[in-house]
Amino acid sequence: MPLTRRSFLAGTSAVAAGVAMGPWVLRSHAQAGPIKIGVVLPYSGVYAVLGESITQAMELVFARENWTVAGRKIEMIKEDDQMTPKTGIEKTEKLIESDKVDILTGPVHSGILLGMRDKVHNTRTILIVSNAGADDVSRGKCSKWIFRASFSNWQPNQPMGGWVARNVAKDVFLVAPNYAAGKDMMTAFKETFLPAGGKVVAEDYPKLGETDYAPYLTKIRNSGAKGVYCFFSGTDAVNFVKQFDEFGLKQSVRLTGAGFLVEPDVLPAQGKAALGIISGHFYTPLLENPTNQKFVKEFRAKFNNKMPDGFACQGHDTAETIVRALKAVNGNTQDKARLVEVIEKTEFDSPRGRFRFDPKTHNVIQPYIYVREVRDVHGGLNNVVIDKIADVRDPGTGCTLPA
Amino acid sequence: MTAPLLAIEHVSRHFGALSALNGVSLSVAARERRAVIGPNGAGKTTLFNVITGQLAPSAGAIRFEGRAIVGLAPHAIARRGISRSFQRTNLFPRLAVGENLRLAAAADGRGSWNVLGSVDRLAAPLGRAREVAEAVGLAERLAEPAGRLSYGEQRQLEVGVALATVPRLLLLDEPTAGMSPEETARMTRLLQALPREMTLLIIEHDMDVVFSLADRISVLHHGEVLCEGTPDEVRADARVYEVYLGTGDDR
């Protein structure tokens, strides 16, 4: 027995060096292996570009640390959720049960997030959400074990209501895909839009994945609205923006929306049609804070001159949270409750501003929601900041942590 | 005089401009053996199809045992007691001979709706299938898939399937078509041995079969009944020779 103990003390001395002796030593032994970070994201289909941005930024952050924290290697296990709940849930199960990941991250799809929520909660797996914005996860379905480093759907939209009413138009047509996120975002927008004297001319909810918006655009044209506020992403965003321009609406109606409408994943495909669109988002690569400048520089150097986008920022903050929390517990991932406490207190300078979690909901407090306009600057189409609203935190209605 | 078993009254059937049947009237008494002859294209098979409900008549009425059957689905007409064989072999090729016959024998539906039971317990249809197999000379081939039988055997099974439902009226559409002389002879014996209770309506080109089997003969020509009578009467009718035998139907 003494012999065994001595030899393994020697073997793990590097790890154990900064650690208090006693029970810690034993635990370090159990943890000599790598720290496994599970990633559930879409790597195929239209949304693969989102998964790619998030993953690249995470890799960038981990690479800065040489893929080692507190003497333990970091290992990312990536799974393609194919943007379908069935697969996403199956992959979550694999990562939790088979790979026994220490921390889980992802997904993009809100449905997958809601689908994996109970599994994560019941198995006490720490999940850091790197995109999906379903409000519920910061409300009635919040969990002690779930943090969100991206946004809740409410966040980029609620501040925009008042801003649009004051600066763009009072008569506004609302359009969003017909599903929970779309409706939630429009509701959040109205929270500040109506009190500021705005009037909703009409609202339409085309199906998610609509390819031809002509019937809706015809309605908008004839509604007399002075502005449109919308939420679209991916293919929907490209087609809506292009067709909006095709119908000649840009001359008479101002197009505004949630930031996803004109993120860099869709902006090149939209081209000139996107010029002048005003959107609210927590990030744009043009931000001038030093953290962001460094991030943009490193990201472009590493990934073939690609501009980081909001998704990359989410990936960055997800990984940064993980690195800082792991350092704080000295690589001990066994004590989950402690790890949760540490993550809750994690605070750092993110490309988007000062990053911290709301202890009430475990959702990120957006340092700013930036009001951005698409302009042709810096050699291409970019979202230029024209205004900002500080400290946007989700109301967290119905969330009682620790749950 | 008792009512006929099958009464066909002024039945017509048109396909577009073509009329395959043109006001055909025909009645068959119970226990009778009636042959329908006529050159190709005379409308014989169409007549069968109209009787058994595969085709709806364009006009006219058909009564079986005094009840109208026009408009009933084929299965409902079969249930009334009319069964038929087909000119083109029409079997269940991947099912065994015994199963071909058993399915037909169980078509009255009793037991066939049983979703969880075993086929082996259906004693009556199984017995009937063996009986018919014996009658059509396929008792040795019960387990063979129907598709693997020789052509002659398939023709025998074709008649067997029609027989297995125990019809009161049996319609046979050229049962000996394409058979060798020996096979034809065997088929003729088989048909002669059928019980008299089973009324027979048979389309046949082989005159030897017709004359050795039929009590009466109807001659169809251009969708109309040209004449009708005993074999001797028909044999003596000059018109028949003209349209049918005389014009040298070349088969």
């Binding site: 289909g45 239209v46 570009v49 002509a214 004839n222 087609n239 292009k242 000649g248 | -």
Partner: protein, 289 residues
Amino acid sequence: MTPVDLLGQALNGLAYGVLLFLLSVGLTLIFGMLDVVNLAHGSFYMLGAFAGLGLIAATGSFWAALVLAPVVVGVVGALVERTCLRPLYRRAVLDQVLLTFGLIYLFEDVVKWIWGGRIRSIPGPALFSGSVKIAGAAFPAYRLFVIVFGLAIAVVLWLVIERTRLGSIVRAGVWDAEMTAGMGIDIDRVFTGVFAGGAALAGLSGVIAGPIRSAYPAMGSEILVVTLIVVVVGGLGSLKGSLAGSLIIGQAETFGKAWLPETAMLIIYVVMALVVLFRPQGLFGRPLR
């Protein structure tokens, strides 16, 4: 709804319907003649869009792509027919379903491999950029071009099928392929030709749709179902039916979106169910049995 609004929506529906026609006419002829349920027909549409994208990049001309992309897709179609479908004609419908279902996956991934999963926008021709005023309301010039072009193709197809020897062979083949073969016609080549032609038309619609709907790998499997519905509504194997079905579905979906956006998805299925219930062979299909 004002008259201007009505007109605008009708034009929207017409542009969409014409697109559906180009897609469905190939499918319906393949159905009618080869008896093949070609689930990969949407993939040809997708391939057309991406081939167009590549050709525009290479030639710098939308018009060159409009001519060449269908040729490329037609060749792919011919290859598929020769290598994969030919051995299956005498097999069950099911095998063709499985095969063409497999092809959907295959084509989608190959395209992703070459072009990546990103949504690509296809630049429309400069000639038809912007919008024109119709009865005082702006309507995209490109969509007007689509309407005119699609209807012109319909007329050409009608002439080819009704007035040429090739057309009469195809018409005969739709009714009874076996009989046509008996007439001493090399039915194999006709089959390949029809399949390749159908694929080329789907490719053409992909190029046409590109400037409106963008190009992305899943676009083919998304459009497939509505194309199948058009074919069933119009009647298998019928050119007239394909046109009628396309225009009906195009208008039904457009006005559905305009008036009842939240149930718009249902409308086309309801139209189809009604047609199949009351006229199972479709509007212009040959009667069943």
